[in-house]
Symmetry: C2
Subunit: 413 residues, 2 copies
């Protein structure tokens, strides 16, 4: 029997999806699961997008241009204009989800053995895409105590080697919900300029910034236009994860020419999704006002509920729809599996993402979980109740550090 | 300014798409182009699929399971049953087009530096996917004189090294239209078994086998169940290239577990496309009877027209909707570009794919082009007229080898 590749063995299983079999057996036992483990919002996709699909006019479902349908790319420039990002449509290649945007950016800019510095905890699949490209992720730690702010620039500089080719951020961040300040981006700008690195920025959550805090894009940074690559997706913006439409955006023409070759190899991004995406640009502003209000309500409820629980600490994030909570537990992988296998309250339980999958070292994130507040208030309320009871019953309970309550009182004041 | 990757430089531009800018300027000059350069059929997508899209019921366009929607995968097993391929749905992972099926298969089975033997001319993007995975393609030549039949097994054996991990075929073949016989597959079976190699088979054209010749799948071969990986797509089957739905299929559980990790990293295949694909399985048989008749008519016309032209030779293929023709020209890249830049007849021209892109060495395919007979009879007739006139006017005309006419009389008798 032939052997699978070493790369295949190294490929990490998705920490968000690896618990799925346990969830499936819980469901078979009749247990209802509140899915806070995955960024699949319950928010309805804008009607204009569904209408575009219902009225899909063509008789032949054709390939599109490898870089995406031209009218869509042109309309996307108007969308970015709203965020003071001025683009020509040739600076946009439409991809199959944000996932493919990351894959193509990595392959276009980095070779096997090259290094990319990423603040951790980070979106778990960055590990997967790096493994695919034989690129080495060099993590730089951001901490729950600091609310996951950008680590100081001198910490980055310590990690830079001749193999360092890029820095990657996610802003607002999945999994932390942290929103970078203008000052933090300015620090990154100087660093990137000094070392002539690529700066990849995954900004798929820009619609979700709260508390009147402003979204700053790497596309706004002056003097590093040739270094910046923005990675985007319509999945979260329009609650259209299944459309699988994203984009890779850069003003660097060399990069875009190379990226197009990778795009040509896979022929084209999905036509139906692009049709929906193009229609989505006409989504009324009201839609986002309502969605944002809803997420703020959910965030406030979840973060408050968590911080009320004994031994739990959760900094309040300013963006996206995730938060990371520190729990009084021995091992978040075990705890999340136990929630599905051995716990239920009134025949219900909650599914969370162990934070271990968002760190690069196995000893990190053992007492942290990521919570996606993507369900309605009623479900969130029941889910938080489940979690509180579960923490009381969990056999691997750990008395949390004193530190925690000190920080909590400080952060929540 | 940071540099793009070496891999990006090595990435071949799509030979099918690299002429697109010349086509675009021709169109801007008002010249009508007959596109025989790309496998984008004009055949209508089955109505059942369009209906499924028009009636898409959900309010939230959600991610699907990373391996694809379960009901779709289960229904796919029924589709394969019709071809005497018996599968459990767990042996199918739905992918984003056949492209992603190839990418995932390569990454799951091969590491950087590993070698894969592929009969050439082969589908150009195999080069791209190999470059992505840092895998080395070892071509084995099939010739127009032999109608692109499988090269003898002893020729394969000469190429096998300790780095050889896989053999890949396309059956029926893009770009040659060649349909492998049961005997040829049997030879491959023995070879694969002897050297314990992976056997990848791209079988996306199985619906298009002509002259009552039978389709034989690698999935039918006994004793190499653990070695075989079938790569599939609905693009051609249902003329639904833009749906971007394919599949990777294998009975090797280790492989499927590894492939699932790659599938998880990119979250899920497109939801709309899967909905269309699931509906497509109910396409009435009559649809395929009509489509096949149409392609046979087109093939016969194109191959006959080509062989009537002075100095042209085209073996008659038994499958897919491509043929490769040898033309009396100096350089197929130049000729195809000249057709777009400098030739027109009654304000029309024809776009072909230079065969150079389907070979791995730059000196091969210089006098060959691939023709996709994907347009209606009227368009094909005008396109063939354009080609005949163009060959008379082309400044790089080459008196073809005497060999050609000898072969023609032999092959067409």
């Amino acid at each position: 029997m032939p052997k699978t590749s070493v790369k295949g063995k190294q490929m990490p299983p998705s920490p968000i999806r690896k618990l799925v079999p346990f969830a499936e057996s819980a469901k078979k036992r009749g247990v209802h699961i509140y899915h806070l483990n995955i960024g699949q919002p319950d928010i309805e996709t804008p009607q204009v997008m569904l209408d575009a699909i219902h009225n899909y006019p063509d008789k032949v479902v054709e390939y599109s241009h490898s870089a995406g349908i031209e009218t869509y790319r042109k309309k996307l420039t108007k969308y970015y204009n709203k965020y003071k990002i001025s683009l020509d449509f040739s600076e946009i290649i439409v991809t199959t989800g944000g996932s493919e945007a990351i894959e193509i950016a990595m392959m276009s800019c980095l070779d096997p053995g090259d290094e990319i510095i990423i603040p951790e905890p980070f979106y778990a699949n960055y590990n997967g895409f790096s493994t695919q490209a034989n690129v080495k992720v060099v993590p730089i730690r951001s901490t729950i105590e600091e609310g996951f702010a950008l680590p100081p620039v001198n910490e980055f500089e310590k990690l830079i080697t001749p193999a360092t080719k890029a820095i990657m951020i996610c802003n607002p961040s999945n999994p932390t919900g942290y929103l970078y300040t203008r000052d933090e981006l300015e620090q990154l700008r100087k660093l990137v300029l000094k070392h002539d690195l690529w700066l990849f920025s995954d900004e798929v959550y820009r619609e979700f910034c709260y508390d009147n805090k402003e979204y700053h894009s790497v596309m706004h940074l002056e003097g590093i236009e040739q270094n910046v690559v923005m990675l985007d997706s319509i999945s979260k913006r329009y609650s259209a994860c299944g459309a699988r439409i994203g984009a890779i955006i850069s003003r660097n023409k060399d990069l875009m020419a190379v990226a197009l070759k990778f795009a040509q190899a896979r022929l084209s991004p999905p036509t139906f999704g692009q049709v929906a995406g193009e229609a989505g640009i006409d989504t009324p502003d009201e839609y986002f006002v309502n969605v944002k209000e809803e997420y703020v309500r959910r965030r406030n409820f979840v973060v408050e509920s968590l911080n009320k629980m004994d031994g739990v600490f959760c900094p309040k994030p300013s963006g996206a729809f995730y938060c990371i909570a520190r729990l009084p537990i021995d091992n978040s992988d075990k705890f999340c599996q136990w929630l599905l296998e051995s716990f239920s309250h009134e025949n219900e339980t909650v599914m969370l993402a162990p934070a271990t999958g968002f760190y690069s070292k196995p000893e990190l994130g053992l007492d942290e979980v990521r919570i996606a507040y993507v369900l309605n208030m009623d479900s969130l309320s029941k889910a938080m109740q489940c979690l509180e009871l579960a923490l009381l019953q969990y056999p691997g309970k750990k008395e949390s550090a004193m530190e925690t309550s000190a920080i909590r009182s400080e952060k929540q004041s």
